[in-house]
């Protein structure tokens, strides 16, 4: 089966000098209908990697294949029809209505002089329906909460009608209820057949929704595979620098979860 998204030998550095690469030799692939969760400490280059995948930054080496096509050969608008990018939340300078923002997702399907047609507005409303923000359609975006804003951005990416979606830490700065709401929506999108790659601070989120996960640390993929195989006491300690216990919880939860401790116990190094 053809992969939705495939990354081969990807390296990137801001200066162009391979010596100070943000990350190097990254290989991974995401199939349709599945979620790939990218873990790693702050500042390790998760966002940079996702921007390379979305065509916003140009990798020094390697290539990104979307349905078998090298994205460096695609027009930006063509790529945006295949791949939707959901940025980390930020504020808007103007109080655009939520429906105005979601309909922006139609841009790659419209020519320079075109404005959205009724059909585009319909697609925008369908996206809001899927994500569950139709009730916000007429609200100025400056009045949205963090969770509502994130859902709005997901709806906008969905209005692009992509088959791949890239989400950059969609649950950061959100309370637990909103985190689960977002993950539920993301899971729903995967069930509709989208190939999804997302970055997250929370290893638990990989256990919750991901079928594949990888740890990016010090510019390299440390390990990738099933969440159960990748998220281990050892890997977690090496990644986040504190002791973390990964335990299986029964009690109707029936999954593994991470339990960090406040201090490092003195322990032999496990390089």
């Amino acid at each position: 089966m053809q992969n939705g998204l495939r990354i081969e030998g990807l390296s990137f550095s801001y200066s162009g000098d391979p010596g100070d690469a943000v990350f190097r030799e990254v290989n991974l692939s995401v199939e349709h209908g599945s979620i790939f969760c990218l873990l790693g400490p702050n500042g390790t280059g998760k966002s940079t990697l996702l921007k390379c995948i979305s065509g916003l930054l140009h990798p020094g080496q390697g290539r990104v294949l979307v349905h078998g096509n090298d994205i460096s050969l695609l027009r930006a608008a063509d790529l945006a029809q295949e791949l939707g990018y959901v940025p980390q939340s930020q504020v808007s300078a103007f109080p655009f209505l939520v429906e105005d923002i979601v309909v922006m997702g139609r841009a790659p399907h419209l020519s320079v002089f075109e404005s959205p047609k009724p059909r585009d507005v319909q697609i925008a409303y369908d996206s809001m329906e899927t994500v569950g923000v139709v009730s916000l359609a007429k609200r100025p975006c400056t009045t949205l909460s963090g969770g509502e804003w994130q859902l709005t951005l997901i709806a906008r990416a969905l209005a692009q009608e992509p088959r791949i979606m890239v989400l950059d830490e969609p649950t950061s700065h959100l309370d637990m209820g909103n985190q689960m709401k977002i993950l539920h929506v993301v899971q729903g999108l995967a069930e509709r057949g989208l190939a999804i790659i997302m970055a997250s601070h929370f290893p638990d989120h990989a256990f919750l929704v991901a079928s594949q996960t990888a740890i990016l640390n010090n510019g390299r993929i440390v390990q990738q595979g099933l969440p159960e195989d990748v998220i281990t006491d050892n890997n977690m300690r090496n990644t986040y620098g504190v002791d973390i216990k990964v335990l299986y919880i029964g009690e109707g939860i029936n999954r593994k979860a991470c339990f960090p401790s406040l201090r490092n116990k003195p322990q032999p190094s496990t390089d």
Partner: protein
């Protein structure tokens, strides 16, 4: 309840546009009537139509000359300058993601000011003043744009900073020229020119600058929905498949050609490009698809009204740059008080 939190009025844009077009027609007729020589509106329309249809001339040639050679070009100049500065302002505010931006931010007026001062000093002919202000306006923006390209990471911020640098340079040069200018004749004409006036608008100006300005306005109106995407930020716009560099260049070229032409016809008229877009935003919200047409119409109406006041209120002419602020500031303050526009 949160859902009632609305910013601005969000009027029906179609109805509002029809109303504004009718208002514009009324205001334009009034502008053609008013002046030292008062012309009856019926007569105004008949004289205008006689330009196209064979109508028996029952009026004096003076009347016809006043209308065709003085008031009509001045009206057209007012319409185009008002519409052009307003629509450029709205486009720039979206492009720079900042509602405090005016069309002059890239240094076009500082450049035009220097050009005009040079021409007044060395040639003294009105045609040369217009030509020089236009060319120096373009030159200043070109310098700003080139300077901003030195750093490639944050193009919008670099444009603003480069605009400040170039603007400061050109303003200093203008001040130097004022300092060495002859204080009896040249100095006052430099100052008066800087205050702005439509007094010099002629049919020739309209034939040369009119089509250029109109083209700029139409292009900005055509790409207006894309300005929404730019207003979300460089990276988000690119992730939606927009070639941000190209569309930014198109907006800058259009707005620069419009404002350089406007400045060369009418001198520096501030305030309009900054405030009219805000008034539009209060009426129809921030969506540029609705905002730009409304802003264009309001800008045209506003400048025609203010110019008519400027030339009829007292014996001599009041510089329009002064009036736009005196008339506009209270209106704007009132609207701000009534509606949180929430930008």
């Amino acid at each position: 309840m949160q859902s009632n939190k609305k910013t601005g009025i969000h009027l029906n844009p179609v109805k509002l546009q029809i109303f504004l077009v009718l208002l514009l027609a009324g205001v334009s007729t009034a502008a053609l009537m008013a002046g030292q020589l008062r012309i009856h509106p019926y007569e105004v329309i008949r004289i205008l139509l006689s330009g196209v249809f064979p109508i028996e001339k029952t009026w004096s040639p003076t009347l016809e000359s006043v209308l065709f050679d003085v008031r009509l070009p001045r009206l057209l100049a007012g319409l185009l300058v008002g519409a052009g500065l307003s629509v450029s302002g709205a486009a720039f505010q979206g492009l720079f993601r900042n509602p405090l931006v005016s069309p002059h931010i890239l240094g076009v007026s500082a450049g035009a000011g220097l050009g005009a001062a040079l021409a007044i000093l060395f040639f003294g002919k009105i045609f040369m003043v217009q030509l020089f202000s236009f060319l120096f306006g373009l030159l200043a923006v070109l310098m700003t744009y080139s300077l901003s390209r030195v750093y490639r990471t944050t193009p919008v911020l670099m444009l603003v900073l480069s605009g400040m640098i170039v603007g400061a340079l050109f303003s200093a040069a203008t001040s130097l020229l004022k300092y060495i200018a002859d204080p009896v004749n040249q100095m006052p004409s430099i100052v008066f020119w800087m205050l702005g006036s439509l007094n010099n608008a002629s049919n020739k100006d309209m034939i040369i600058a009119g089509p250029v300005m109109l083209a700029g306005i139409i292009i900005l109106l055509l790409i207006r929905w894309r300005i929404n995407l730019l207003a979300m930020g460089e990276e988000e716009a690119r992730s939606l498949g927009i070639d941000t560099g190209r569309i930014r260049a198109v907006i800058i070229v259009c707005a620069t050609v419009i404002s350089a032409s406007a400045v060369s016809i009418s001198g520096i008229i501030g305030w309009i490009g900054l405030v009219i877009p805000h008034i539009g935003r209060i009426l129809v919200g921030p969506d540029n698809k609705k905002l730009l047409p409304v802003t264009t119409l309001i800008g045209a109406i506003y400048l025609v009204v203010v110019d008519t006041i400027a030339r009829t209120a007292i014996e001599s002419e009041i510089p329009i740059g002064i009036l736009t602020a005196i008339v506009g500031a209270p209106i704007f303050a009132y609207l701000l008080r009534k509606n949180r526009s929430g930008w």
